[in-house]
């Protein structure tokens, strides 16, 4: 599904990714763990197409196609979704309005018809209910005045509605209490499918108790320094990142 080859990225002359190579297969849940400043968030932004990052070398292939030349909206239409660590607020734009605009923009980019309003409402209501999002929140400005947990649930609702092929969860567990963590994880697990893959970025093993990864990658100094199964996460939890910090340097 996703293949990253020898990716070198800098921002404002500071090198962040330094020859990163990573493959995520169809249906796979891959976790990326690593200390602060190892480049995890940068990786998620570069895959999603955030401007300001300068790609010096390498490629990112989605289903064999290099997406690096594509704008962020085209990548979204191609199936890339990023659940933000800090979702942005859009004042005055009702969540419902935003969701509809986003869904229809992607459908249009793919040459599909717009959703009928009734169908759209039905999907949103059902999705919101599963994630415990009250209906009146959908009428409020997107993320405006939402708590950290509410924002994260909203990200997962968007993910569910947009039906992406490749989902990146950037520290989705940060700021969540245990109950919210469970709800969010259940939301993610419900979306698992053989033709969808996940890249779960986290500091802590805790999230991986709920979203169980197939593979765990350890990232340090802008590259993947170790890859293993889910047991690798437990090992990290016990020993910390100290070994990897020196290993990569």
């Amino acid at each position: 599904m996703l293949e990253i080859r020898n990716l070198h990225v800098q921002i404002e002359d500071k090198k962040i990714l330094d020859g990163l190579t990573l493959t995520v297969n169809d249906g796979e849940v891959a976790a990326i763990m690593g200390p602060n400043g190892s480049g995890k968030s940068t990786l998620s932004y570069v895959i999603a197409g955030k401007p300001d990052y300068e790609v010096l070398d390498g490629e990112i292939l989605l289903d064999g196609e290099n997406i690096l030349e594509m704008e962020a909206d085209a990548r979204a239409a191609a199936g890339v979704f990023l659940a933000f660590q800090y979702p942005l607020e859009i004042p005055g734009v009702a969540t419902m309005t935003f969701l509809k605009a986003a869904m229809n923009a992607q459908r249009k980019a793919r040459g599909e018809d717009e959703l009928a309003t009734a169908d759209f409402m039905k999907r949103v209501r059902a999705g919101a209910e599963k994630l415990g999002i009250p209906q009146d929140m959908l009428k409020r400005g997107l993320n405006v005045g939402f708590s950290g947990g509410e924002k994260k649930r909203m990200e997962i609702l968007q993910m569910a509605l947009l039906e992406p092929r490749f989902c990146i969860l950037d520290e989705t567990d940060s700021g969540l209490d245990i109950d919210a963590l469970k709800i969010v994880s259940e939301g993610v697990n419900a979306l698992k499918s053989p033709d969808r893959a996940f890249l779960v970025i986290t500091h802590y093993q805790r999230l991986l108790n709920y979203i169980v990864p197939d593979t765990v990658h350890v990232m340090a100094h802008g590259k993947i320094v170790k890859t293993g199964g889910k047991e690798l996460a437990l090992e990290l939890e016990a020993n910390g990142y100290a070994d990897y910090k020196t290993l990569a340097a």
Binding site: A48, G49, K50, P51, D52, E71, A72, D73, R75, A76, A77, V80, F81, L82, F84, P87, L88, I90, P91, G92, V93, T97, F98, K100, A101, A102, M103, N104, A105, Q106, A109, E114, G141, Q158, L162
Partner: protein, 489 residues
């Protein structure tokens, strides 16, 4: 927001420099010679068969105007205007007092049709529009037609051109004209008093709720012509009226002057809701051409518990200089000002409001949203004052500016004066930029850069759009997006 998609498509379909209403209508016109002198003032008055007192009033204004000079305090920059290089009167030849639409030059009717303004009552009734709106169509210096006059007359409402009002209801005009904006008020208002040519007159009798929306559509067509219209709205005790004005002009390389005066009078318990969708030709992206919109609008809440609200969506004009204001004279009266000012290209906006609290327990509310893009500059200038006797005056002001790009500017200049210790005035102001983070977030969800901007802007102006009559809110929303075309990037 269903309009977003539509907006974006519309925006794509046009070029940056293309102004949708820039066409010129070819009509045989009667044009007064260029220049400003007493003879021109007499000519205008004679053309309109005005009573003698009106001519004297005009001449008095003209003489005063000659002793005045143009205001220099606004944050706008333009070369001195040569007032002798302007035509002060231009009227379609065929329009010598038409009795019905059939007598109006078809080219003019066609122009309004192109602008989407229905003038044929039967078409409106046939469902061209969802709800009935009576229209007064002003073409250069004259009103060409006013619709639904008879139906309105049944309710006792007078809706006609100011010229007609001067002939048919001189006592009403004489009583109220200049009573809110005095002849000597300011340079442009004084000029208007001397040479105003047409405009609308509205009179709502005691206790009547006007049965439909009233609107005036101003069109400047003739070259080198100034438009000086005068609007006077009187709401008698306990009455209500909602009025909307729209304006467009052809695309020309020269600047044209539009100096209007609008006076509103609300008596006891009356309410006037005045909305403007201003879309004069803004000039091209390099700042060539465009309308100078120098306008004095003021409402007098003369009666107790009366209410006047101004809602404006300003997207046009190369320079806007206007401060629709409320004089809160009656005890318990209320003034409101809701504004969206969009500037792009080289447009300059200096606009805001004045809320003058004179009576007891008066309240006012100001919500102003400025959006600047391109190399434009936008200034909110507002005055809130409480006089000595205005006990318990209340004002809430919220001014937000949104910047798109790095070359535009937004300024907020609030003046607050209180001479009464019980007055409570609140002022909030923010300036923000559409952040790259917000744009990326929206685009990550699949919205294009243009769609993302439209969505964020629509969210920003939502509070004000909600104040517009329904039929016009959607139109206004489209207008805003079109004005911002080319600003992303």
């Amino acid at each position: 927001m269903p309009a977003v998609q539509e907006t974006v498509e519309q925006v794509r379909a046009i070029d940056v420099d293309q102004y949708k209403y820039g066409f010129v209508t070819d009509v045989e016109m009667e044009v007064a010679p260029k220049g400003l002198n007493e003879d021109i003032v007499r000519l205008i008055s004679a053309k309109k068969n005005e009573p003698e007192w009106m001519l004297e009033w005009r001449l008095d204004a003209f003489r005063r105007w000659q002793t005045m000079r143009d205001p220099q305090w606004a944050r706008v920059d333009y070369p001195a205007i040569d007032f002798n290089d302007i035509h002060y009167y231009a009227a379609p030849k065929k329009n010598a007092a038409p009795k019905s639409l059939d007598e109006v030059d078809p080219a003019i009717l066609d122009a309004y049709k192109k602008l989407g303004i229905p003038l044929r009552e039967q078409e409106i009734l046939a469902g061209v529009q969802t709800s009935k709106v009576a229209v007064d169509a002003v073409f250069d210096s004259v009103s060409v037609v006013t619709t639904f006059k008879e139906e309105l007359a049944k309710a006792g409402v007078i809706f006609c051109s100011i010229s007609e009002a001067l002939r048919e209801h001189p006592e009403l005009v004489k009583k109220y004209i200049g009573s809110v904006v005095p002849v000597t008020d300011n340079y442009y208002a004084t000029l208007n008093s001397a040479v105003f040519t047409d405009g609308s007159f509205v009179y709502i009798p005691k206790g009547v709720r006007c049965p439909m929306e009233l609107s005036t559509y101003f069109r400047i067509n003739e070259k080198n012509t100034g438009q000086f219209e005068r609007t006077l709205i009187i709401a008698e005790e306990g009455s209500y009226v909602s009025y909307l004005e729209g304006c467009t002009a052809p695309q020309r390389d020269e600047n044209q002057l539009h100096a209007a005066v609008v006076e509103l009078i609300a008596l006891d318990d009356a309410e006037i809701k005045y909305s403007t969708v201003q879309n004069w030709y803004p000039g091209d992206s390099e700042g060539k051409g465009g309308i100078y919109n120098f306008v004095t609008k003021r409402g007098d809440c003369r009666g107790k518990n009366s209410k006047i609200s101004w809602t404006q969506v300003e997207t046009g004009s190369s320079i806007t200089w206007k401060y629709p204001s409320c004089i809160l004279r009656g005890d318990g009266s209320r003034g409101e000002f809701y504004s969206i000012a969009v500037s792009n290209g080289r447009q300059q906006v200096d606009s805001g409001t004045k809320m003058i609290h004179l009576g007891k327990n008066t309240t006012s509310r100001i919500i102003a949203k400025g959006i600047s893009a391109g190399r434009s500059n936008s200034t909110y200038r507002g005055l809130v004052s409480a006089h000595r006797k205005a006990s318990n005056a209340r004002n809430f002001t919220n001014c937000d500016s949104l910047l798109i790009g790095n070359k535009c500017g937004a300024h907020t200049v609030p003046y607050i004066e209180s001479k009464n210790a019980t007055a409570v005035f609140e002022h909030e102001a923010t300036t923000s930029k559409i952040s790259e983070e917000q744009m990326f977030y929206c685009m990550q969800r699949g919205l294009s850069a243009e769609e993302a901007t439209a969505l964020i802007v629509n969210g920003f102006v939502k509070d004000v759009l909600q104040q517009l009559p329904m039929e016009f809110a959607v139109e206004a929303q489209k207008l805003i997006s079109i004005s911002l075309e080319g600003s992303v990037g």
